[in-house]
């Protein structure tokens, strides 16, 4: 860079700099620029036609555009003219969508970039008489007592299907399957189970309401619950503040405190769980504020590269707690929430980096209880 002038010969340059100098762009500004630049890179090149050919090209474009418009209006809402968000895979984008954030983009910048790109994501549009179908999947690890050998660690998955009335508050039907695909965590755990005559837990399904009257199949559902961070509804989500600091205060209050984890970790975990649970209900403004609020939390970190959750590649942003890290996984192309994970860190009983639990939630509007699309 330039070093050709001695300091005493540069007074007009110094004056010029002092007059025109501006502060470095903040993260929000960088995120807006980045989103715009990457969107433009993905856009197909404009056709270069002249004269009469332009009219032909314009006609073709118009017809094609109508076809796309009709498809968008009809497909997600079964005739409702309002746009509803498809809940798996996000909105369709033309061309080959590129991630909005790179493999090494730091946590805060990644969050702010994704927060600046929420305009295409609309919350579910529910008409009277319709239901919100929520499909939750998760995996966890738990110990089975094996006498003198302590515990054998077993990994299993669970799946919950629920249909909510109104705007997602009152449970109309719920089916919860647990202990799916149960398996020992390690060979040593398998030997502990076998050596003590213990078997793996069997899959178990509970339903609400229970048509058989068998208490074992009865899924306890208390309702109606007040809407909140743990029970988000469309209207409650829409009422949340869109100022990041005010929204963070909502999560801080809901997270509470305990002696095991620091308040920032609890707040992060609460916000991440809410984000995954309410992904399809978020307005663009609330989603933007939510990501910006998480970006305000001290100690958040980015897992380099991308991680896989239920077959979808995402950006993992985490916050370390005591022996475990809570993570939120975001889609780097659509800005949507894919799910959450709990990952072991140093000091845990399992190797650091082990994913000990994950969950994801998909939500869609359906016309009848039992329908899933």
């Amino acid at each position: 860079m330039n070093t050709q002038q001695a300091p005493d010969e540069r007074h007009e340059i110094a004056l010029l700099r002092s007059i025109l100098d501006t502060p470095a762009p903040d993260n929000g500004s960088l995120a807006r620029m980045r989103a715009k630049a990457l969107r433009s890179m993905q856009a197909p090149p404009a056709p270069r036609y002249r004269g009469r050919v332009v009219l032909v090209a314009a006609s073709v474009t118009l017809v094609a555009g109508l076809g796309i418009a009709i498809a968008i209006a009809v497909q997600p809402t079964n005739g409702d003219s309002s746009f509803a968000l498809p809940t798996s895979g996000g909105p369709v984008r033309p061309g080959n969508p590129a991630p909005l954030v790179g493999a090494d983009t730091p946590a805060r910048e990644a969050l702010i970039t994704l927060a600046a790109h929420t305009g295409d994501l609309r919350p579910l549009a529910v008409r009277p008489g319709q239901f919100v179908y929520s499909h939750m999947r998760g995996q966890g690890m738990h110990g089975i007592p094996v006498g003198a050998d302590g515990e054998a660690q077993v990994v299993s998955e669970d799946e919950t299907k629920a249909w909510f009335a109104a705007d997602g508050l009152r449970t109309v039907r719920m089916e919860m399957a647990t202990n799916l695909n149960a398996r020992p965590w390690t060979d040593a755990d398998a030997r502990k189970l076998a050596g003590n005559g213990k078997s793996l837990p069997k899959p178990h399904t509970q339903v609400y309401p229970n048509p058989n009257g068998d208490p074992k199949e009865q899924l306890p559902v208390s309702e109606p619950k007040e809407p909140g961070v743990d029970h988000p509804t469309l209207s409650w989500v829409a009422s949340l503040p869109t100022d990041p600091e005010q929204l963070l205060a909502v999560f801080r209050a809901a997270a509470g405190t305990n002696t095991k984890h620091d308040a920032d970790y609890l707040t992060f975990k609460t916000a991440a769980s809410f984000a995954a649970r309410a992904d399809a209900l978020l307005t663009p403004a609330v989603r933007t504020a939510l990501y910006q609020a998480i970006a305000l939390l001290p100690g958040i970190r980015r897992v380099p590269g991308q991680v896989d959750l239920t077959g979808r590649a995402g950006v993992a942003i985490g916050r370390d707690g005591d022996r475990f890290r809570s993570e939120i996984i975001l889609d780097p192309v659509t800005s949507r929430v894919i799910g959450t994970r709990m990952v072991a860190t140093a000091g845990a009983d399992v190797p650091a980096g082990t994913v000990i639990a994950w969950s994801s939630t998909d939500q869609v509007v359906v016309d009848s209880v039992g329908a899933t699309s």
Partner: protein, 205 residues
């Protein structure tokens, strides 16, 4: 096994970890995103100095979009892509000349705030000096030939040397030298001989 790299607000961008500029320019949109992360901040400061922060956002986004479309023109032998990007930015700024003039004129009307000296009288003098310098310099920029202005601002705001400016604008280094000489002389000619650099230190744009 998943591992975490500690990244925080104060960490520098991961320059050097994701390939050279030439490799990034030759890559896909995601790799251009890495290039953006490297250089968007400094490009924005250069553009914002000329057209203001808001317009500069649009210009910088357009710079990377245009660079992506023209990436096959990039000389892979160039280690540093920044002069190339500054050149694109400067070309785009030519389309924003009206906004650049509007910024200069607006600045000339505003009396800049000053921390200044201890005595009220001294502060008043410095404040008056500063306002006059802003008016003189912005007026000179407005009246300066385009090439001289581009060379001057790439030198002063972007901190490029002669060779880098030559690369950015696609002109010989000798032309850069003479254009910069003339531009600086124009500034010196309009400024008082005893122009007080310190009086301008607290100016804000």
């Amino acid at each position: 096994m998943t591992s975490l790299r500690s990244v925080g607000d104060s960490d520098p961008p991961a320059v050097g970890l994701s390939g050279s500029d030439a490799e990034l320019v030759a890559g896909d949109a995601e790799q251009f995103g890495v290039l953006f992360d490297r250089y968007a901040g400094v490009l924005h400061r250069y553009c914002a100095g000329r057209v203001g922060a808001g317009v500069a956002e649009d210009v910088v986004a357009d710079v990377f979009c245009l660079a992506f479309k023209q990436r096959d023109r990039y000389d892979a032998g160039r280690v540093n892509a920044l002069p190339w990007l500054y050149g694109i930015a400067t070309n785009l700024l030519r389309r924003r000349w009206r906004q650049e003039v509007a910024r200069y004129r607006a600045m000339a009307k505003v009396v800049p705030p000053l921390a200044g000296g201890d005595e009220p009288a001294q502060r008043a003098v410095e404040r008056t000096d500063a306002a006059e310098y802003v008016r003189l310099i912005t007026s000179a920029l407005e009246q300066m030939p385009r090439r001289q202005r581009d060379v001057l601002l790439l030198f002063a705001l972007a901190d490029l040397d002669y060779a880098e400016i030559a690369t950015a604008l696609g002109i010989p280094a000798g032309t850069v030298r003479s254009a910069l000489h003339r531009a600086r002389k124009r500034l010196r000619d309009v400024l008082p001989a005893d122009a007080n650099v310190s009086a301008s230190q607290e100016m804000t744009s």
